[in-house]
């Protein structure tokens, strides 16, 4: 092979290796593009109840009193009182009343949706299509991700669906998970790094933790289903604490399962952080007469803390995005009430996204995109904190 050919071959492969790397970046970009593309765009909104039947005149010509009368006439007694209890109708502004009539009386629904690129590039075609196919409806540019979507409870109408219950559920599950997993994981990491000798038992524990990190999350879900949901049902349902009307499929079961899942990650990261603490610190402490625990508590842990916290935050983001084990232990698909204690039924953000993808209607695809955007923002925030901590940590190590 001539030298020139070898160099040309080298240049070609340089390009191929670079494209392989770029392919990863492109996939990430496409994924984000796809989500944003589905999260915004035109939608045709159309009442599913003919307004002429329930309203005397077109809505914008009605007075507040007439709107109130329409609401009272068309809602059941119970539904009216419930809505009045949330916020008295007398205290609502005109805009709020109109919104309420749109949602509950004429029951507006999104009947057709378009993606963001489509909406931006083919605006005139979409307007023509909407006017032709849906003469009753009105075309509106929607941001599916909006404050109402975050703040509203679940609804069977996609247009008025919200993910407040799912966000609260995620928050409670993750909080409880980390409260359980962090102390235990840190304890195990300290034991393995500072106390464990080379006995067979300690080697077994170490190998075992490494292997547990590779067990598929769905298997943890099955463990949780059999142990926490079924065998320990009286504890996880809160029955022994006097909570009636519940089974084992609660926030507590979810958090215990999730804790077992992220435990190996916390332990392995914790071990690395503890191992990075220079031995001279320990020896200095022993030299001054400190006991082993005093040395660990006052010298090793403070120095390893940023590294430990980084690992903990990364495991929290794992827990936040994990779906499969929670499907197995039985997250609920529809919850009417916000979860308010650890024995409540729950749903979490990724489960809601999964449920949205299971719906055949187009508008649920937009809802899923909006929910994904929220999930990604939460994850991004968590990871930024982890990176900040890591940077502070490396600065401190340079000072030592």
């Amino acid at each position: 092979m001539s030298l020139a050919l070898r160099h040309r071959l080298g240049a070609l492969w340089h390009w191929i290796f670079l494209s392989a790397t770029i392919a990863g970046v492109i996939s990430l970009t496409l994924m984000l593009y796809n989500i944003v593309n589905e999260g915004f765009g035109y939608a045709v909104i159309q009442p599913s109840v003919d307004p002429a039947l329930v309203l005397p005149r077109p809505m914008d010509q009605l007075s507040n009193a007439e709107l109130l009368a329409a609401i009272e006439d068309n809602l059941s007694q119970g539904a009216y009182q419930k809505a009045d209890g949330e916020k008295p109708f007398a205290a609502r502004t005109r805009a709020e009343l109109i919104a309420f009539v749109e949602e509950r009386v004429v029951e507006e629904k999104a009947v057709a949706t378009w993606s963001l690129t489509d909406s931006l590039l083919n605006g005139s075609r979409i307007r023509a299509e909407a006017a032709k196919n849906y003469p009753q409806g009105r075309l509106k540019f929607l941001s599916w991700l909006n404050l109402d979507f975050v703040a509203r409870a679940m609804s069977s109408n996609a247009l008025y669906n919200g993910i407040r219950t799912a966000i609260l559920g995620s928050f409670l599950v993750v909080l409880l998970t980390i409260a359980i997993a962090f102390p235990v994981g840190l304890g195990a990491a300290i034991y393995l790094e500072e106390y464990a000798g080379h006995s067979w038992l300690n080697r077994l524990i170490q190998t075992n933790i490494d292997n547990l990190a590779g067990v598929p999350s769905i298997v943890y879900g099955m463990l949780g289903l059999a142990i926490f949901v079924r065998a320990l049902a009286s504890v996880t349902s809160g029955a022994i604490f006097g909570v009636a009307d519940s089974n084992g499929r609660t926030i507590l079961s979810a958090a215990l399962t999730m804790a077992l899942l992220i435990l190996p990650i916390i332990i392995i990261n914790g071990q690395e952080a503890i191992r990075a603490v220079p031995n001279s610190l320990r020896q200095a402490s022993y030299g001054l007469g400190a006991t082993q625990w005093q040395t660990i508590w006052h010298h090793v842990l403070p120095n390893a803390l940023p590294g430990i916290l980084t690992g903990a935050i990364l495991s929290v983001s794992r827990a936040l995005g994990e779906t499969a084990p929670l499907i197995i232990i039985g997250a609920s698909t529809f919850i009417a009430f916000d979860p308010n204690n650890v024995f409540a039924k729950f749903t979490v953000l990724p489960i809601q996204i999964y449920n949205f993808t299971q719906q055949p209607q187009d508008e649920y695809r937009n809802l899923a995109a909006a929910a994904i955007l929220i999930l990604l923002v939460l994850l991004l925030a968590l990871n930024s904190i982890a990176i900040l901590l890591r940077n502070r940590f490396s600065q401190r190590l340079q000072l030592l």
Partner: protein, 323 residues
């Protein structure tokens, strides 16, 4: 840490401590109940991991045992037939295992070339500036929740496949799009593990090859990659384990309802997809269907555990040579 003090030098301190034959005192022997208590607690934290493993083995084993001892199921049927229709009492694991195999194969066809290519580029070619941008980007890809990948497969890759190969050929739910996206998900795992392995190859090997007149490409492919081969293999095996255990992507994009087919454009349920679908519904705890998910789960656990252990062996061998 053994601290020993001359008894004669510090008589006052040694008075209440155990002394050995030579008149020396060992600080270690002084009983410290609190310290031992803490140590036992920390040991329990570590031992919890063993309890977890035992729990998994017990739960999967016990329910599977009930499944296999049921007269409606036979081991030969389970391991040697290709129909999985729990409603009709047919339990042939190959219908599910085959889909798992196909999706994982497609995933590896994407992840191995791209992952290894990216690893070689990052380790051997990239300028520090490019590395600082590319590496974190791939890490972001690794942090995206799998449910998001599933959404991407269903709403982006599937329409593209259907546009390219025809709506009749490609079903709405199909193994190909799930496999392709699973490949993208595994790519960062393979690239980062392989890059670590390539990075650990001693500089002297590269210098020697350059000294003999090799080009950068020849050094990378004929010296560095072969030297790091066991580390790279470990990354591949771990990638396979990840693909086999992946649930959300296949549950969303590969369809429900088992089918024994080698056509990647058909909908076919994988092992994980079956477990997720059955346990997501309201199935009674005593039913055979409920027990069947544990039998499938046991297979899954055995396969992924074996792959993990093999992968770890390769890493250990690699470490032995270079670290």
């Amino acid at each position: 840490m053994t601290l020993q003090t001359e008894a004669a030098a510090t008589p006052r301190l040694t008075s209440e401590r155990p002394q050995n034959l030579y008149g020396r005192t060992s600080l270690r022997k002084r009983p410290r109940p609190l310290e031992s208590l803490i140590q036992s607690f920390l040991f329990l934290c570590g031992a919890l991991s063993i309890a977890t493993t035992l729990g998994i083995v017990y739960v999967l084993g016990q329910e599977s045992l009930q499944f296999f001892t049921n007269p409606e199921v036979s081991l030969t049927e389970f391991f040697f037939t290709t129909y999985w229709q729990p409603e009709a009492g047919e339990y042939g694991i190959w219908a599910l295992a085959n889909s798992t195999f196909i999706t994982s194969l497609i995933a590896m066809c994407v992840a191995v070339p791209f992952g290894l290519g990216a690893a070689v580029y990052l380790s051997e070619y990239a300028s520090p500036h490019a590395r600082n941008f590319l590496k974190p980007t791939l890490e972001i890809l690794a942090g995206v929740p799998t449910v998001v990948y599933g959404y991407f497969a269903l709403t982006f890759i599937t329409p593209i496949l259907r546009a390219v190969f025809g709506v009749e050929t490609v079903e709405i739910y199909n193994m190909a799009s799930a496999g392709l996206v699973m490949g993208i998900m595994i790519l960062p795992l393979i690239s980062s593990m392989s890059e670590d392995a390539l990075h650990a190859v001693p500089r002297s090997l590269r210098e020697a090859a350059y000294g003999l007149g090799a080009t950068r490409f020849e050094v990378a492919t004929q010296v560095v990659v072969p030297a790091a081969l066991s580390g790279v293999t470990a990354a591949f095996i771990l990638g396979v384990a990840r693909a086999v255990g992946e649930t959300m992507i296949v549950a969303i994009a590969a369809g429900s309802g088992s089918l024994f087919t080698f056509n990647p454009f058909k909908a076919a349920e994988t092992m994980t997809g079956y477990i997720a679908r059955i346990s997501g519904g309201d199935v009674s705890y005593a039913s055979l269907q409920y027990q069947s998910i544990f039998a499938v789960g046991l297979m899954l656990f055995v396969v992924t555990l074996t792959l993990n252990i093999i992968s770890r062996r390769f890493v250990a061998r690699f470490r032995e040579v270079y670290e």
